[in-house]
Every structure is written in C-alpha cells, then in structure tokens.
Symmetry: C2
Subunit: 341 residues, 2 copies
DNA sequence: CATTTTCTGATTTACGTACCTCAAAAACTC
DNA sequence: GAGTTTTTGAGGTACGTAAATCAGAAAATG
C-alpha cells in the first residue's frame, strides 16, 4: 500500500506534526530530526498525494491570457482551447481570464500587460509582439512576482519564464525541405507570404525557410516576402497579384495565418498551373484545401497542447517547480492529405 | 465559489444523503425528488470534485498490459511508457502489471489472456495478433466483465472496447504519398519491408501504401513485400539482397520495426545510389538515420500517447464513461530531419 | 386501517494532507 | 540550576466527497 504521512511518522519515530514541518519546509525542526524524516521518506518511497494536498490547501490559481483580437481560425482555435481549459480549470481550482488586444501592436500589448498587473494575477500568458515597451512591461510583471509565459510567438531576451510554442526556425526549415522536394527538381520561383515581420514567429519561419532553400535548393529562387497582416482579403490580393506577375512560380509558402485568402487565390488558377503549396495551421479552410489538393502540406502547432502547456508551466512557476523541458516541447506536426487527424 | 454537495442539498431542500444517492446513482430516491436534485445541480452548475471523490473512494484500478517480447526499440519504448505510467499511476491509484508473450503468436497470446483473466483485473490492454483463438479469448474477457483495449495493432470484429493506435491505412497512404513525391517523377521500383502480415497494423499499412501507389504513382513498380519478423539481422539481409538484385530500386518503405537492420543495409550503399526511404517509428536508430540522410521521412505513433490513452479508456470503461473519440485519436506524426522533436 | 415497502433525513466515519494551537520536553544560556 | 529558547508531540479542524447506519416519514399494498 502507498505510504502516507502517518507511515512516515511511525517509521521515523516522530510525530505527525514534525513530518508535516519537514514536508512543507516549515521551521522548528532540528537538523538531525529533519534527516531522520527525510530518510524515512525515501526509504518508504513516500510521494505526496497531490489530490489530497490540493484539497486540503484549497488553493486557487488565477491566470490571464492576453490574446490578439484576430479573427483568423488559428487564434480562434487558441481561444477555444483557452475556454475549454477554463472550463476544466474550474474543476482544478484555476481561474482563467482572457483579455483581447489589437494585433501586431506592441504599445497596446504593453499597456494591457500593465493594467492586468494591477489585479495581481498569479500568472500571465500572452502572444508576444516585439517592442521595447513589451520587454519593459514583462520586466515589471516579473518584478511584481507574476509568472509570465509567451504563447505561440516568443520574446527572447525578455524576462518571461517560458515560451509555449514551436521552434519556428525548424518549422521554416521543414517547410523548405518539403517544398523543395515536392517541387521535384524543377526550376522556378518560390513565393512567400507572411503576416508581419513584427512578430517573431513569422520572422523565424522565414529565416529557417530561406536557410534551407539556399543550402539545398539553389535552383529555386525565392521572391521577396509578402506581408498581409494575416488578413484574408489582403492575402488573396497579394497572392493573386504575385501569381499573375510571375507565371513561373512553382512553389508557395504561406507562413502566417489568413489562409482563407490564400486558398481563395489558389482556387482561381488552372489546376495544372498551381504551385506546390506549404502552409501553416490546420483549420477548416486549410484542411479542406489539403483534401482538395490546393495545399500539398500543412505544418501545424497544436493549439490545445500549447494552451495546456502554458497553464501547466504557469502553475509550476507559481508553485516554484522546475519546467520539464521534454514534456513542454511543442511539436511541429506535418499533415498531408492522408494523415489528417 | 464552487458549489459543493452541501450547497446542492440546501438548494434542493433535501439532505446530503439524498444528494449522494442521486449523484452516485444509488437506489431509494423518488423520481420527483431525484429531479429536484438534478435541477439544483444544473442550476448551481455543480461539478463533482474528482480529486476529493477519488480520495474518498480510495478505489484502485488494476490493469494488465500484454506486450510482445520483441526487442525492437518501438516495443521497448512502449514498455518504457507503460513503466512510466505505472510509476505515475501509483499516485493515481492505479496498478499496472506487464506480461510478455512471444511475438506474432496467436495461440500464445490467447493463452496469456485466459490466464490473466483468472486474476480478474479491471482491464487488459494488449497488442493484437490475428487469430480465432484471440477473438475467443477476448470474448471470454468481456464475458468476465473485464475492459479490453487493443494497443498498436487492432483486432476488429472482436469484442474489444477500444483500439489505442493509429489509422494504419492512413499511415500507409501517407508513406506512399511522401515516397512518390520525394521520388520526383522518376521511374523505378519500390521495395517494401514489413514484419509480418499476421499483424493487422502491418497489413493495413501495406494496403494503404499500395492503394496510393496504384492511384497516384503508376510509374513506380512496387516489389512483393518482404517479411522479416521485425528482426534486425534478417531485415538487413533481405534489404541488402533486394537492393543487389534490383539496382533500379529508387524507393524503400519500411513499414515494420527492425529498422536497425534496414539502416545497416542502407549504409552499405553508395550515397548517390541510395533509394528514397520512408520508415516507421522514431527511435534512436531511425532518428540518427534521418539526420544523416539515410532515411528521408519517418512516420511515428507516439508510444506515450498510446499508452496513456489506453489507460484513460480502460479507466473510463471501468467507470462506465463513454470514450471521447476526438481525445483518444492517435495521430500519425511525420518527421523530416528538420522537425525532429 | 393496518401493514409492508419504499423513500428520506440526520449523523458519522473515512480518505490523505495542510495548518493551527497548546503543552511538554529538550536544548541551550548565563 | 534557573531561566530562556528551540524543538517536538498530541490533538484538533478543515477540504469535498463516499459510504454506511439507523430512525422516521411517506407511500403503496392488502
């Protein structure tokens, strides 16, 4: 049977109160006694029953998620996952609030962070936009003892505790690898459409993509990146324009959101003239485009995983536990039309 | 504040005992009273505190995992995950025992299942081998009220409650798609190496693979499948032999385990004569081969996910809960050298 | 209407831990 | 050795639920 605190007390020849003092790091235990207890703990292989402990503590965590008010499917998906987590978290003594901010707007984000800090939540997760104001706001949050996690897009060099998202460099490299190999040795141009170079995830994807393109597929010429602010209408426009202007585009990498527009533009083209397309994020639109053959491969980051990881890390930080890197690594999923889940 | 059973009792104007009877579906509550309580529950939005409930119940689940005594990395990985789960499960009031059986041996598996049934565990998970004896053994398990889940390889048509594994048909299709596109329009032969056509997962992969090959890549001729019983030495031999005999092999699909042997054989070949290789399962060997360029793409089923899913489902079955299909679907992961996690 | 059966209430114990108080013992200090 | 401080013990309450007992009320049965 699983040992309990009572067993420890008996085995160490001390009282329950002393075991409790050792376990919860309370003062008033002599060094030798503490060691006796610790020995008993490892001897019996005692592990604290977390469920019972939480029940006894009655602790509740309060977290705030700061999300860009984008209407693209990915961000909607993330918000849904936050909602789902919020629902479950009611069960797990966790309170989660969601705050929306204008997208791609560093000052607005910094302001939001500062105003949230006034409520003194236990932790904050946010989608980073680069900017000195944001760095400063994060520093203030940490100053106030609030756990901080970046979500989807990171803010390296800041004092955030953790980044819950994929390795976007690797994602870009993977995209290049797929696009290059799918292009099958033909020559031609490659178009790239992004949301904004202001967000780190997009920039890193581009860097990784260009690196592999240069290394492994020198016969494919990559056009200058187009930015469409993850706006479907704008994306449709710029992609259409590019495809008209350069008939020898044989590949397209859509590394941001707003794929509704990209797919729309692709549909206008004669099937045999369509480029090989690699895009990001599995949504209703992209999933359909994948089965239809408009998109050839899809890189995905699982929103649910990211949100749950962020919450786990925030809880861990609040409780002073270390992050288990292996557990919190978010994988880059690749979908072809045959393995859509 | 989160409502408790006490709040429900007060709000419904009944006693705690009655609330308990309703919640735990115990007899002795009039229909109208039951409804009053249920209304109070939904009115207050009560959710049972699972932690407290488990604490109070003190219930322990006993599960048995029946695994083939294979020494390939994938099965070792599965066993490691079972061990890890076993460790954690001590915390979660779950007892897991692992039983090994000879691989690819239906009568032995059936015998093992029967002998395990004598202990009357709450649930059994096993890697299926096809055979009438196994079907019959599963029927007996269900007869005895034991929850049954197949792991990695399924046994459709049997009375198992659930299959914790990937859609192997889709995996084969995905492999064909990747292999065909990576081959880049060249003509040539494709070799396929499997473990055994006796296990359903291998057979289904092959079917999916052949289907897409026929549909989409008619210029690639698929050689008859080679079976190596997931034995590295044997695999090395047959792959070497095939590559020697057919110099125009431009693609290889390794759909079983024993990739150590396959990689060994590939390494013997001049780099520029190497075929495009798609294999299954991310292990130490295959991971290295992927970075080295010996393998071009890897399909993977996450052993940890599968084991945890199996345990979740078993617990659910024991508690009479329905399986949440979306949550229990195991994805097919694709790894290229750039997105190894 | 009496009797049996079916409900319901009140109360208690337990699960494993946290946290509190009060008293007693042990270890120091001068 | 008296006084002070530190360490330890004993005991209790609480968390939210499960499960049991027993008595009493209500309903159904004859």
């Amino acid at each position: 049977m699983k040992p309990t605190v009572h067993d420890i007390a008996r085995s160490a020849g001390v009282s329950l109160a002393t075991v409790d003092r050792v376990l919860n790091d309370r003062p008033g235990v002599r060094h030798v006694t503490r060691e006796r207890v610790e020995q008993a703990i490892s001897r019996l292989g005692y592990v604290r029953d977390v469920a019972a402990a939480n029940l006894a503590k009655g602790r509740t965590y309060s977290f705030v998620f700061v999300m860009p008010a984008n209407d693209n499917s990915f961000m909607i998906g993330i918000r849904e996952e936050v909602d789902a987590a919020t629902y479950r978290s009611g069960i797990e003594r966790t309170q989660i609030r969601v705050v929306e901010v204008p997208p791609f707007d560093a000052p607005a984000l910094a302001d939001a962070l500062d105003s949230i800090a006034l409520d003194k939540p236990d932790g904050i997760a946010f989608v980073a936009v680069e900017g000195a104001q944001v760095h400063a706001a994060v520093a203030r949050l940490k100053e106030a003892g609030i756990a901080v996690v970046t979500l989807v897009s990171d803010l390296p060099g800041s004092e955030r505790d953790h980044f819950a998202g994929i390795d976007n460099h690797a994602a870009g490299r993977t995209a290049a690898n797929l696009l290059g190999r799918f292009a099958g040795g033909r020559d031609g141009r490659i178009a790239v459409i992004a949301g904004s170079m202001l967000v780190r995830d997009h920039r890193e994807r581009l860097e990784g993509f260009l690196a592999v393109m240069g290394e492994s597929f020198p016969r494919l010429a990559v056009l200058p990146v187009m930015e469409a602010r993850d706006d479907p209408a704008l994306a449709a426009e710029v992609v259409s324009a590019a495809l008209r202007r350069y008939p020898d585009i044989i590949g397209l990498y859509s590394l941001g959101a707003g794929n509704r527009g990209v797919v729309h533009a692709l549909r206008e083209i004669a099937p045999d003239a369509r480029p090989v397309v690699v895009a990001h994020e599995l949504t209703g639109t992209t999933r359909a485009a994948l089965s239809e053959g408009l998109i050839d491969a899809l890189l995905n980051q699982d929103a649910g995983h990211e949100v749950r990881s962020a919450i786990r890390v925030l809880k861990g930080k609040v409780d002073g536990l270390p992050v288990i890197a292996a557990q919190e690594r978010i994988r880059i999923d690749i979908f072809l039309k045959d393995n859509m889940s």
